[in-house]
Subunit: 250 residues, 2 copies
């Protein structure tokens, strides 16, 4: 919680500086749409070069905390933009951020053959590659929110058991601990579909009620896909949030 930079710390200086500046914003020392000290003013304050200061500010600009105006200065972004830049989250994290307790009812854990759609999405070329299917009803505060069906591409010879999934609510933490697969990016689509009889029963709604279907392909550190997930959300209980950015540069 110090506000000086330790040059011997393993944490890079620009991360340390970004944390210091972020705290000033979070604690309200600097107000919305007002300028922070200029880059050259910050140099002697923290004993770092201007390039390092720019790296720290770059981080906060990308996270939506600050914005720059050429020739004028660097300013504090309004609160609205300070939260949740288009983030990749698990169902569990998503529920927690909405203030609800995540839960699950496991329907099935099994090895399956990939369909053509999955082969394409998961970039599978081998003919023997199997997938691990996990079918679950996801709940928020105990009531059914959606049906989640995951297809995992595990490292060859590896597998997951129903017990592991039961104990460890979040698949992402399981994947990370057991296989060192960490999600970094994902493609996601959303569309409206109507509930089949089975889905209606699982979600405790009327047949043909509208559902929000999201399909996601998740990529790990080396940009290889390792997961294809379908989630069917109850249309009356779920709202999707996104943060969009316009790329300026060409």
């Amino acid at each position: 919680m110090s506000s000086i930079i330790n040059p011997f710390n393993v944490v890079p200086k620009y991360h340390q500086l970004a944390a210091i500046l972020k705290r000033k914003i979070d604690e309200g020392d600097w107000k919305t749409h007002t300028p922070i000290p200029s880059e050259r003013q910050l140099e002697p304050l923290y004993n770092v070069s201007r390039a390092t200061i720019r790296q720290a500010i770059d981080l906060l600009v990308r996270q939506g905390y600050l914005y720059r105006e050429h020739g004028r200065g660097t300013f504090v972004s309004p609160q609205k933009l300070q939260k949740g830049i288009q983030e990749l989250t698990s169902f569990s994290e998503d529920m927690l951020s909405r203030g609800m307790k995540p839960g699950q009812i496991i329907l099935e854990v099994a090895e399956v053959e990939p369909t053509d759609q999955m082969r394409q999405r998961l970039e599978i070329t081998s003919n023997t590659q199997k997938l691990t299917k996990i079918d679950r009803v996801r709940t928020g505060d105990g009531t059914p929110m959606g049906i989640q069906t995951s297809y995992l591409l595990l490292p060859q010879g590896q597998s997951l058991t129903r017990e592991e999934v039961e104990v460890n609510g979040s698949i992402y933490s399981l994947m990370s601990e057991k296989f060192h697969l960490i999600p970094t990016e994902a493609d996601e689509t959303l569309e409206v579909v109507l509930a089949t009889p089975r889905e209606a029963e699982l979600l405790d709604i009327a047949e043909s009620s509208p559902l929000l279907l999201t399909e996601r392909t998740t990529y790990s550190q080396n940009r290889r896909p390792f997961e294809f997930v379908k989630i069917l959300y109850r249309g009356d209980r779920y709202k999707y949030f996104a943060r969009l950015t316009r790329l300026i540069s060409q």
Copy 2:
């Protein structure tokens, strides 16, 4: 279309270099998951310093074209990740990217009092501030795709006419040309709703059909909101696409 950097060009060197590297990727000179030349190898090739090369690569990494692995090299991302990083687009751009011709039927252009929801979303404090409402049916290849209702916060005393909206299909280009308001970021939510009789008639569907409702607040260069838009999409014709990223750094 040159592949050398012009130091006298007004375009920064790192943008020129990024364009050159991007072309090599697009044209298939460098293949997926193979390393590009190292940063120190690129220095003499393009006569720029390593810092400039890193800036160029940073651009392409952020746009999803390349990824880095510490101690190993910089690699070409798979095609999947090379398109459309979570982008903020207008309805017109969105339709064009889906290969359809965008069109519109203007229902109403008028000055209105902001509701409380709009005052909050558009950060309005003044009591006299009016909004410009534009209500339109949007079409793709001639068939109705959705109903778009925009509420614009124009600079004081300014206004838009029905004719201007008619001529200039995209509001964004109008806002940019006339008021120098350029969209840079937006918050967006998506949910499922059921069509009212009026909406069903406008979209040529049955009453109570499921619709995809998106609500968006758009921010300009200085992070001030200037637009609040609701779009009701036909659930059977529209699919939403998103690219998610996990923020690694703290």
